[in-house]
């Protein structure tokens, strides 16, 4: 999926060794809100300091919201639910048709069919690289759930699932995207993983949000518009 994490850098194609502009701008912007977010971070920090009770879990909340994580490696790298105001079947149908993924998955360059019903993905990775991912569908319950996993020939080892559930009160569909990925082997791989540890998580959240935009509004939201920054085009999104 789009949140690919390069864990075998020797197989990653070098496209551009300079840090790409988008990454640099994101860093700048992050600095800008740092001060204002300090207060929010304080609240979040307080929250995670609280101790979780021992004993069996009694909360009706999704597993990925548990404080007491199982081993870090078992934790999904990304898990997010969004309400989308469209019927379950319609959302499932679009997610089933992988040719539409590049419409809302920003980092997916292309998807082609591979052997035995598998699909081969070309995914943009940080710093101008690409990774290849070959996935097969593991489970497919029409209008409810699709899960997938990567095959050994992939650059990264990942699995994920998307679930569609009627939202209470006739509000549409809860769409939950859950992704896992195995930490890469080798020293170089770990370095890359460390550098971009948050990237797959963020990417998955963004892709789910874009899916919602596309399904509800018919287009993927963009702030593309003029600015006095010479590096920007009025037809390209501004980070």
């Amino acid at each position: 999926m789009a949140e690919a994490q390069p864990n075998q850098p020797e197989r990653i194609k070098e496209r551009d060794s300079s840090i790409d502009r988008a990454t640099a701008q994101k860093a700048l912007l992050a600095g800008g809100i740092a001060a204002a977010a300090a207060g929010a971070a304080f609240l979040l920090a307080r929250k995670s300091n609280a101790t979780a009770p021992d004993g069996p879990v009694i909360s009706d909340a999704p597993a990925w919201t548990l404080k007491k994580a199982t081993k870090q490696a078992d934790r999904p790298i990304a898990a997010k639910t969004l309400l989308i105001g469209r019927p379950r079947a319609e959302l499932y149908a679009v997610w089933k048709d992988y040719r539409r993924f590049p419409d809302f998955m920003e980092n997916v360059e292309g998807i082609e069919p591979a052997d035995e019903g598998a699909s081969r993905w070309t995914i943009k990775a940080p710093a101008g690289k690409t990774v290849t991912l070959v996935t097969r569908i593991r489970e497919d319950i029409p209008d409810r759930k699709i899960s997938w996993e990567s095959l050994p020939e992939s650059d990264i080892e990942t699995s994920g699932q998307v679930e569609f559930e009627d939202a209470p009160g006739g509000r549409g569909t809860f769409v939950s995207l859950v992704m896992s990925y195995a930490p890469p082997a080798g020293r170089a791989g770990q370095l890359v993983a460390k550098l971009f540890a948050r990237e797959p998580n963020i990417q998955a959240r963004h892709d789910l949000r874009r899916f919602k935009q596309l399904m509800e509004t018919g287009e993927v939201t963009t702030n593309a518009s003029p600015s006095a920054r010479p590096s920007e085009s009025p037809a390209q999104p501004r980070v």
Binding site: A35, I202, R209, K212, E216, T221
Partner: protein
């Protein structure tokens, strides 16, 4: 094209930037005919809003002529439209509830993420504002790209000049929603802090909605005079002890509803305010809620607090116990502009609402940086500035149409305006 761009605190410039382009099918491009400077722009000018970037095009109050449309826009070239400052998709959970400023889709994924960290949920987007709210270019420019042009812009019938309809983009609906949020009941006394454009329209709306009495508070004589001409009683808070005056003027009860049309840059040389100012400039806190603190103390028991004034984050010394013990109700929010444009346009066409009385200056776009300086430094003289990209120079307008108002007794007997449910 030429556009007013932000470069830092008290540094705005007119730059040449690329023209906007149609990017999405629902987009339209407008050629701007009028665009105003807002109190919210002052918060950017003073550097109080985080996530601005040097080179951003400002301006969220604008109207113009449609010059280009995307495949799914319902607008036609040549139409004159006013555009809500809130960018709203019209399709999401919030838009369906007419809570347009809370739109869940207008903020692009990246910037939505940032605001989710800060606010708990991603904020809706607005034109010409910070990147937390989408980072879209604004309309203090010759042209602007308008997303979701099939649901936001309102088409203006021929014969209505720009000055009569431009403020449908923000401050007129904002004043209206501020009064609506005050839950005005017949016989109410409503106190309004701040007689800037938002305060003045809140006063006008409160009276239309049936307030028996409005007390307007500011320090600038010209702004207070405009409030008086609308029918409000006025208080210059430098002249009197404000809290005592409000208690005395209401026989010990206090105002039934209070409206904060000041926002995060409250004036006042009091200890709390000076401490807040230092903190805001060092980003230790973002607010100077001096006026809001006063409002909560002044409001009657069981009364209502309406906050259209903009705040950005955490406030210190907030009178929470007073709020609870007195049983107050608070309503706030960026205005759900799309909900109000049509009914307010109707009231303008029926002659029930005048929007022109507060305009003090017209100026060409090239003069925008100078106008920002005046708007910031000379609030007494500059009560509302409208920029016109085609115009050369600046023109001062003899404002104050108060003499057209009916005497107070008559107005008090007027029936309440019909409920505005879009």
């Amino acid at each position: 094209m030429r556009a007013l761009t932000w470069h830092g605190r008290h540094d705005v410039r007119v730059d040449t930037v690329p023209d906007p382009e149609i990017v999405n099918p629902r987009d339209a491009i407008l050629k701007i005919t009028s665009t105003a400077i807002c109190g919210s722009d002052l918060h950017l000018y003073d550097g109080y809003i985080p996530t601005m970037r040097a080179g951003d095009v400002l301006g969220h109050e604008f109207m113009g002529e449609v010059v280009e449309t995307g495949a799914r826009s319902t607008l036609q070239k040549g139409q004159r439209v006013v555009v809500p400052f809130t960018i709203s998709c019209g399709n999401c959970f919030f838009c369906n509830k007419q809570q347009y400023s809370a739109c869940d889709n207008s903020n692009p994924a990246e910037t939505a993420d940032m605001s989710e960290l800060l606010m708990g949920h991603p904020m809706g987007a607005a034109f010409g504002y910070a990147h937390l709210t989408g980072g879209y270019a604004g309309g203090q420019a010759e042209y602007v790209r308008v997303p979701y042009s099939d649901v936001g812009p309102i088409v203006i019938p021929d014969g209505l000049p720009d000055d009569q309809v431009l403020f449908l983009s923000d401050i007129l609906p904002t004043g209206w929603m501020a009064a609506e949020n005050a839950g005005i009941e017949p016989g109410d006394t409503v106190a309004v802090w701040g007689c800037g454009p938002v305060g003045l329209f809140a006063i006008q709306s409160a009276l239309i909605m049936g307030a028996a009495r409005v007390i307007a508070i500011d320090e600038y004589p010209r702004r207070l005079q405009l409030a008086k001409e609308l029918g409000a009683e006025i208080i210059d808070y430098r002249e009197v002890n404000l809290l005592e005056a409000l208690t005395e003027m209401t026989g010990g009860i206090g105002p039934d509803a209070v409206i904060d049309c000041v926002g995060m840059e409250s004036h006042g040389l009091t200890v709390d305010n000076v401490v807040d100012t230092v903190k805001a400039h060092t980003f230790l806190g973002t607010e100077r809620p001096h006026a809001l603190r006063q409002m909560i103390i002044a409001c009657r028991k069981g009364g209502r607090v309406s906050i259209p004034g903009v705040y950005g984050g955490f406030a210190d010394k907030f009178p929470l116990g007073q709020l609870m013990e007195k049983g107050l109700t608070i309503k706030s929010g960026q205005t759900h502009v799309q909900k109000y444009t049509k009914p307010l346009l109707d009231l303008i066409q029926q002659g029930k609402i005048d929007t022109t009385f507060l305009i003090s200056h017209h100026a060409g776009l090239e003069l925008a940086p100078e106008m920002y300086r005046h708007w910031h430094d000379e609030q007494n003289t500059y009560t509302k500035i409208v920029l016109k990209p085609g115009m050369v120079g600046c023109e001062q307008i003899a404002g104050g149409r108060g003499e057209q108002q009916e005497p107070r007794e008559q107005r008090d007997l007027q029936p309440r305006a019909p409920e505005l449910v879009g």
